[in-house]
């Protein structure tokens, strides 16, 4: 397993409130990593630190052994794309205009479009299956469509890393699975995907690498089949459960008692 992106002994928090102390994590390259854990366990905080939205109080987030805080802003944005839980769509923006914003880190002061920019936007819209919506105002779309548009925007950023904070929240079950299948496809194409997921069973099915967090620390990590057992679920979620094999994928499936 190779790794370019790591958290090294980071202490994370907001002001006086410390969320994680001395947390370390290596993100495996080219894999789908899912971060799971109960509410408030520090999953989103970790993701925000990885994309430099939060500066570690101690320790460092490193990319190729260089601290991300030493990288130029647009340079880092060409490596890591991030989809937060609460992105804002400016009033009146169309799908194509929103997806185009993903090219910002590749553009110069005058926002001139290279053929590469145009290709990346067109491809991202095809991959996320929103090309038919191109001229529609984002505000008119359904929740599932809108989330795919945001995914297209981060795809247009054309980065080796995709970080997504609970991308499946507020989606119905069909759209949840469509989105996860899309993320798996992107992993197959060579991107490294890191997503905070709420549903442990989805995480087990889709992720290559599972990171279970509790109280700001990593409780367990590894392939779902190796790490998920009743003891871990009891420890992390405080939930007695039986682990069975998922009848479709054969991955661990948590059934609460």
């Amino acid at each position: 397993m190779t790794t370019r992106l790591s958290a090294q002994d980071v202490t994370l928090g907001y002001g006086d409130r410390v969320v994680s102390t001395r947390l370390s994590l290596d993100v495996p390259d080219g894999a789908f990593t899912a971060v799971v854990g109960p509410n408030g366990c520090g999953k989103s905080t970790l993701l925000r630190a990885l994309v430099r939205l939060l500066k570690p109080a101690e320790g460092a987030i490193t990319l190729d052994s260089r601290s991300v805080s030493d990288l130029p802003a647009k340079g880092l944005a060409r490596e890591l794309a991030f989809l937060p839980q609460d992105p804002l769509a400016p009033e009146g923006i169309t799908v194509h205009q929103l997806v185009s914003r993903g090219r910002y880190p590749h553009q110069s002061l005058l926002a001139l479009w290279t053929p590469e920019d145009e290709r990346a936007v067109a491809e991202a819209m095809v991959t996320a299956e929103v090309e038919d919506l191109a001229d529609r105002p984002v505000a008119e779309l359904s929740g599932g469509q809108r989330q795919r548009v945001w995914v297209a925007m981060v795809l247009a950023q054309d980065t080796p890393y995709l970080l997504l904070d609970e991308p499946t929240s507020f989606l119905d079950i069909t759209h949840q699975y469509r989105l996860l299948a899309l993320l798996s496809r992107l992993r197959d194409e060579g991107r490294t995907v890191i997503a905070v997921l709420h549903d442990i069973n989805q995480a087990c099915r889709f992720a290559d690498h599972l990171v279970a967090m509790k109280d700001g620390r990593v409780a367990a990590e590894g392939a779902a089949a190796d790490v998920v057992d009743a003891a871990l679920i009891k420890d992390v979620f405080d939930l007695p459960s039986v682990i069975v094999a998922d009848p479709v994928s054969g991955t661990p499936m948590v059934v609460p008692e």
Binding site: A81, A89, G92, Y104, W113, P115, A122
Partner: protein, 353 residues
């Protein structure tokens, strides 16, 4: 509507709503509506400007206006009295429109414009203090206005900052600060020497009366520099509209960008206030009208500048004509137009909550 074409190796998204301007292998996409707006506003500015040059105690004929413009038939009234006023309307209107767009972007609220959150009033306080206490000249007054605007901005910002920054909270606190600062301004005028007070009151509601070329040189340069600086950062400003997280993760240096926006926004507002007094409601209304006319996403700068210029120019003509031969302060007209707009906006905002 859309089609993905193959041009050589590159798929190009052809859109009906944009025009693709090739620039040496690269391309620049311009919204059709924006081009229409630019043309429309330039025509309106020329038309209103022509009326502005013609109108006065006696109407000038078109021949006289062209004669004065080309210098073939010199006219002090047209070239030295009326022309600076027309230019001031365009220049200050554009500056106010951009200042409004900047603050509406910063606060992510259509009511978060400098005139509503007290920055005009604060700049006016700075100018008044310099005039009354230090008896300063026009350049010092301008510095006073900038300082007053910055202090007010800092005050509003620090009062509304708790658990992060909310646009609506900042607007409500700004309205309160605006009321207090306006009261302070009235008190300063009442306490001032009679002559200063007379001058200050005439200027109190924002006026382009009696502006000449000399008044416009320094503000013209300052506004041109400020608009160029923010124009070069326009794409970062639009990127910030996607929320703080995406702005940062796509490479916008958010802290620096915000500081620059505050400085340019306050700079534009204070420069106009130092010369013309607090002209209210152009900054509030122009960006939103421009945005709707351009059908552009977010609150873009160029439509705000153009709409602001046309709006102030138009309001100044109305101010001159309404009670002719008495020329009203233009601020009275913008306040009357903008006040109605603000009520509508507040009703919309309340309904949305």
């Amino acid at each position: 509507m859309t089609g993905t074409q193959k041009t050589g190796e590159t798929p190009v998204l052809e859109r009906t709503s944009t025009v693709r301007v090739p620039v040496g292998g690269r391309a620049w996409f311009v919204q059709r509506r924006t081009i229409g707006l630019v043309v429309g506003c330039v025509v309106a500015m020329l038309g209103l400007g022509f009326v502005g040059l013609s109108y006065g105690t006696s109407w000038a004929t078109p021949g006289e206006v062209f004669g004065a413009l080309t210098g073939l038939e010199p006219s002090v009234v047209i070239a030295e009295w009326r022309a600076p006023r027309v230019v001031a309307g365009i220049l200050f209107g554009a500056a106010l429109g951009v200042a409004g767009a900047i603050f509406q972007n910063l606060t992510r609220n259509p009511m978060g414009s400098p005139d509503i959150i007290g920055l005009d009033a604060g700049a006016y306080t700075g100018a008044l203090l310099v005039m009354t206490v230090f008896a300063g000249a026009s350049v010092t007054v301008a510095f006073g206005a900038v300082a007053g605007g910055l202090v007010t901005a800092a005050l509003v910002y620090s009062l509304s900052r708790s658990n992060g920054l909310s646009g609506m909270r900042l607007v409500v606190i700004g309205i309160a600060v605006n009321a207090m600062v306006t009261a302070l301004n009235n008190w300063l005028v009442l306490r001032a020497e009679l002559e200063v007070a007379m001058a200050a009151v005439g200027w109190n509601s924002g006026s382009l009366n009696g502006i000449d070329w000399e008044d416009l040189v320094v503000p013209g340069v300052v506004i041109a520099v400020l608009l160029t600086v923010i124009g070069l950062r326009a794409s970062a400003l639009q990127q910030s509209a996607l929320g703080d997280s995406i702005a940062v993760s796509t490479g916008v240096p958010l802290e620096r960008q915000r500081l620059l926006m505050v400085l340019v926004g306050v700079g534009c507002t204070a420069t106009v206030t130092a010369v013309a007094g607090p002209v209210m409601f152009v900054a509030l209304a122009a960006p939103q009208i421009g945005r709707r006319l351009a059908q552009a996403p977010g609150v873009p700068l160029l439509p705000a500048a153009l709409t602001g210029a046309v709006l102030l120019q138009f309001a100044d003509l109305v101010a001159q004509m309404l009670l002719a031969p008495v020329s009203l302060p233009v601020g009275v007209v913008t306040t009357a137009i903008g006040g109605g707009y603000l009520i509508w906006l507040l009703a919309q905002e309340v309904r949305r909550r």
